[in-house]
């Protein structure tokens, strides 16, 4: 809890720094800021989305910052089991960047408070982004409360001898969550990610390099409020395989501790040619995450070995209008390592000894994306914008013995646009619409384990697989009212309402998610 206090105050500090006009830097020409201007600013940046903080100074970004308060609500039964039937999220976030001593500093802070109602088959995990296959599930319907704090920063030095830029970026995340019904849980996750970087300038050519190190720790404890009733849980090991366990009693499932380290690096090459700017980047990550139960007498539940490679090409055309093209490919492979262990019962020792280990499962993911955006108007606040996107995504997972396989292959295609309606000198209305169609190309799930009739397979794995392999249409729209509120006209207030509606092709279910935001841009 002490950590959270520090994070909270660090967030407040950053928010204050980013939103105080006093620190408005030398580039703060009196121009009205708005969500559209920030969107336009980022779209014109080559280096913002890379892992190389040093490159940020090359984008010649101006000062900007925002502060947002958002209320999000999701409702509907088209979802994964672990999602809530209803979900509420309150978010406070701030982001901004400024030129500083010839370099550039960027930072962000966010706090999210989530309440998920009626979740299923997730006892301990707070997010599934890292695709961890070793975790505990149960079949009791339960609410889940979560809080997260994210702090991120990027810093780039001024070009040294007009040749070399040094930089770094870092991200600190913590998340805490609690499942509300027996078997209830408390989970704490922290991660820190550091990426030192450098860029060398050679005329119109820029060559960048960055390294990466990440450390992650998660602790999950499971308990019962009603100590008279033990609760059955299932510890997953991938694709529905795993083992049954009990929370409560003398042999209760112990605490799970996840400890992960990740290293990696990336190379970037950028070329400038008249109105055109290009950036080609590649990144590689290698990581290991151990899952240990009962830390007082540690027993390895498994280890995940991660290898990720990605390549991305960004092309930007400046001029009267802004055009941005992105092509990217990412390939990741997770090896699920399991252990054969025996308790060394020698009186003086009493510890679990690893006799054998092997890769029991593999999880592969390939993502290829295309994205094109057009911004009409060279001004910071565009008149209108339009974009198209396509993404191919394939997940191919296997559990070797007993053999189980799951494959999901989807194609996402989308089109979006926004138009700014002027409402006098000080205000405008930004209206957007977007449409995404998910086309399921292929998919199968074959469970070959010992208990095909288990509720884990029939009620959990199979419905989630059906969700992932269902084609859907997503219709979305958003409206923002933006008005200038400061004397110099730079600061704006905006209110935004956004709605996305998901309708699967083969199911009667649906899901709607909406967000209401009050924000300020500076």
């Amino acid at each position: 809890m002490k950590n959270f206090k520090y994070i909270y105050w660090a967030g407040v500090l950053i928010t204050t720094l980013l939103t105080t006009n006093v620190v408005t830097a030398q580039d703060a020409a009196v121009k009205r800021t708005s969500p559209a201007s920030i969107e336009r600013l980022k779209a014109g940046s080559l280096w913002m989305d890379t892992y190389n903080g040093a490159g940020l100074v090359l984008d010649n970004l101006s000062y900007y910052s925002d502060l947002k308060f958002a209320y999000g609500y999701k409702n509907g039964d088209y979802k994964l089991n672990s999602d809530g039937e209803r979900e509420r999220a309150i978010t406070v976030s701030s982001e901004g960047g400024l030129k500083f001593g010839g370099g550039y500093i960027w930072g962000s802070f966010s706090y999210v408070n989530e309440a998920q109602r009626n979740t299923l088959f997730n006892t301990t995990m707070l997010d599934f982004d890292r695709r961890m296959p070793y975790y505990t599930v149960d079949k009791n319907l339960s609410d889940f409360l979560k809080q997260s704090y994210n702090l991120a920063m990027k810093v780039a030095s001024k070009p040294l001898w007009n040749k070399v830029i040094l930089g770094a970026q870092a991200e600190y995340r913590t998340k805490v969550g609690a499942k509300q019904m027996d078997p209830r849980s408390e989970t704490y996750v922290y991660s820190i990610n550091v990426k030192p970087s450098a860029v060398v300038i050679m005329g119109n050519h820029r060559i960048g390099i960055n390294f990466e190190y990440q450390n992650l720790v998660q602790e999950s404890t499971t308990t019962n409020s009603d100590t008279q009733v033990n609760q059955d849980v299932f510890v997953l090991r991938g694709l529905g395989n795993g083992y049954e366990a009990t929370v409560g009693g003398l042999q209760s499932l112990g605490m799970f501790v996840y400890k992960g380290n990740q290293v990696g690096g990336g190379l970037q090459y950028s070329y400038l040619m008249d109105e055109y700017r290009f950036l080609l980047s590649g990144n590689y990550i290698y990581g290991m995450e151990d899952v240990i139960s009962s830390p007082s007498k540690p027993k390895k539940e498994g280890t995940v070995k991660t290898q990720e490679i990605e390549a991305k090409l960004v092309a930007i055309k400046d001029g009267d209008n802004l055009q941005r093209l992105e092509l990217s490919y990412a390939d990741s492979k997770l090896d699920g390592i399991e252990y054969v262990q025996q308790l060394d019962n020698t009186y003086e020792v009493q510890r679990w000894v690893v006799l054998y280990k092997s890769i029991r499962s593999d999880y592969k993911e390939q993502i290829a994306s295309f994205k094109y955006d057009f911004f009409r108007g060279a001004d910071k606040n565009y008149k209108w914008r339009a974009g198209v996107l396509a993404q191919y995504k394939k997940n191919d997972d296997i559990y070797y013995i007993p053999r189980s396989t799951e494959m999901v292959e989807n194609l996402f295609m989308g089109i979006n646009g926004k138009y700014s309606f002027g409402l006098g000198k000080k205000s405008n209305l930004l209206v957007g619409a977007n449409f995404v169609y998910k086309d399921n190309l292929d998919g199968h799930y074959n469970y070959g384990g010992a208990k095909p009739d288990s509720y884990i397979i029939t009620d959990f794995m199979t419905p989630d697989f059906e969700y992932m392999t269902n084609s859907y249409s997503m219709f979305g729209g958003d409206v923002s009212y933006v008005t200038s509120i400061s004397k110099n006209g730079r600061t704006s207030l905006f209110v935004k309402a956004a709605v996305d509606y998901y309708k699967p092709v083969d199911l009667d279910s649906d899901r709607i998610q909406s967000t209401f935001t009050l924000g300020f841009t500076f």
Binding site: V263, Y356, P402
Partner: protein
């Protein structure tokens, strides 16, 4: 400046490398799992018993919930392919009828590693005539009261004459062995012959004041408290009325505990008795035996590094044994020597009002014969409602209060 940049980069690499190094080294070269081949060889120590032509072989990996069943001849060697590397319990069993006797053959190797191909697993197989007295049904987990409370006074142990001859239960002992609940932390016992004994935490004995004959097909009930547990003052939700039990383990009476018609057992060994003989609702490990020597509580022993007082019971004196565990995840946490019980039984929870009961093997001339292969996993099944004298078992004639 170039030197500073170099130092900067070297420092960063060193920092990242050192932090993650150990973890990466541990698993960087881990290979994909490959099934292994196990070779099973029998070491037959059958004495005068006949040799059956075929044995049933079972390899159980409790962690994986994975089981392989095979048969093999008595003079051969069994090769099992495509085994998932892991920790296994291998059990070998057979049954044979000859000269009017039923012989059981059993052997096991518990928690043995099968992680490399071709390693021979030698299983020692011994024979025994089917037991005369067996633990027939045990209700150990307790029940729930109407208000949702936990009730544990209705525990009972039924012992059945599974033979075709009259058995005398005079002096018969029932003991719960150490450790009380299934655990991976087994106590260590001193002495070279330590594995020739089981170590009791508590022992109750049928009085030796008179004979207590038990005809074939008859059973005795040993109750923690031989009362009608369904009466309003106890637990109307209890599944059993034990007022007709032959014996009870009375420690002392109280406002709840009364001295019932059942004969009071003798507390033969219990260093620190509590008001009632409550055995663990998580599942204890029990033996019944006839002691060859009088039980002298002062002759207790303690495990290495512990002060828990226990009493040595020679395995050779054990008539029957039953290992109970809290749930299926604990099946490999064996406390009972496999020569007595190669498996384990469980109702899978506490206070769920269920019992474990021995399965019926056959009925001969109206006499029900129960399975007794010295493997509780195979011999027992879970009963949703506990019941005394199931399958038509009769009370002994000297039970005049039945």
């Amino acid at each position: 400046m170039k030197n500073k940049i170099k130092i900067f980069m070297v420092f960063l690499w060193a920092f990242a490398g050192l932090t993650a190094c150990d973890q990466f080294d541990d698993n960087a070269h881990t290979k994909k799992v490959e099934p292994v081949r196990s070779v099973i060889v029998l070491d037959l120590q059958l004495g005068d018993a006949p040799t059956p032509s075929e044995f049933n072989v079972k390899l159980i990996n409790y962690n994986e919930r994975y089981e392989i069943n095979k048969t093999m001849s008595s003079d051969g060697m069994l090769t099992v392919d495509d085994v998932i590397p892991g920790i296994y319990t291998i059990t070998v069993s057979a049954e044979m009828n000859e000269h009017g006797f039923t012989y059981n053959y059993s052997g096991s190797v518990v928690n043995t590693e099968i992680i490399r191909s071709g390693v021979r697993q030698v299983v020692k197989v011994e024979s025994s005539k089917a037991g005369n007295l067996v633990l027939k049904e045990v209700f150990y987990c307790g029940s729930k009261t109407p208000s949702g409370g936990s009730y544990f006074r209705d525990q009972f142990y039924e012992i059945y004459n599974n033979s075709e001859t009259v058995q005398n239960v005079k002096g018969l002992c029932i003991a719960i062995i150490n450790p009380l609940t299934a655990t991976a932390n087994l106590p260590v016992w001193a002495g070279e012959d330590a594995d020739k004994y089981v170590y009791a935490l508590q022992i109750w004995q049928v009085p030796t004041d008179q004979d207590y004959p038990l005809n074939p097909g008859e059973s005795i009930i040993i109750a923690q408290m031989a009362d009608n547990h369904q009466k309003p003052t106890l637990n109307p939700n209890s599944p059993v009325n034990l007022i007709t039990a032959e014996f009870e383990t009375l420690v002392r009476t109280s406002s709840i505990i009364s001295d019932n018609p059942a004969i009071n057992m003798t507390m033969a060994f219990w260093p620190s008795p509590t008001p009632q003989w409550l055995t663990t609702v998580f599942g204890g490990a029990f033996v019944i035996y006839f002691p060859s020597q009088p039980i002298v509580p002062a002759n207790y022993v303690t495990p290495v590094g512990s002060t828990t007082k226990c009493y040595k019971i020679p395995i050779s004196e054990v008539v029957d044994a039953l290992e109970l565990v809290g749930n299926v995840n604990q099946m490999n946490l064996k406390r009972m020597p496999t020569v007595l019980d190669a498996g384990a039984a469980t109702v899978g929870g506490t206070y769920n009002g269920k019992s474990v009961a021995r399965k019926v093997k056959e009925t001969v001339n109206g006499r029900v014969i129960l399975y007794d292969t010295n493997n509780s996993t195979n011999d027992f099944e879970v009963m949703d409602t506990p019941m005394i004298r199931r399958y038509g078992a009769k009370a002994p004639s000297w039970n005049t209060w039945d």
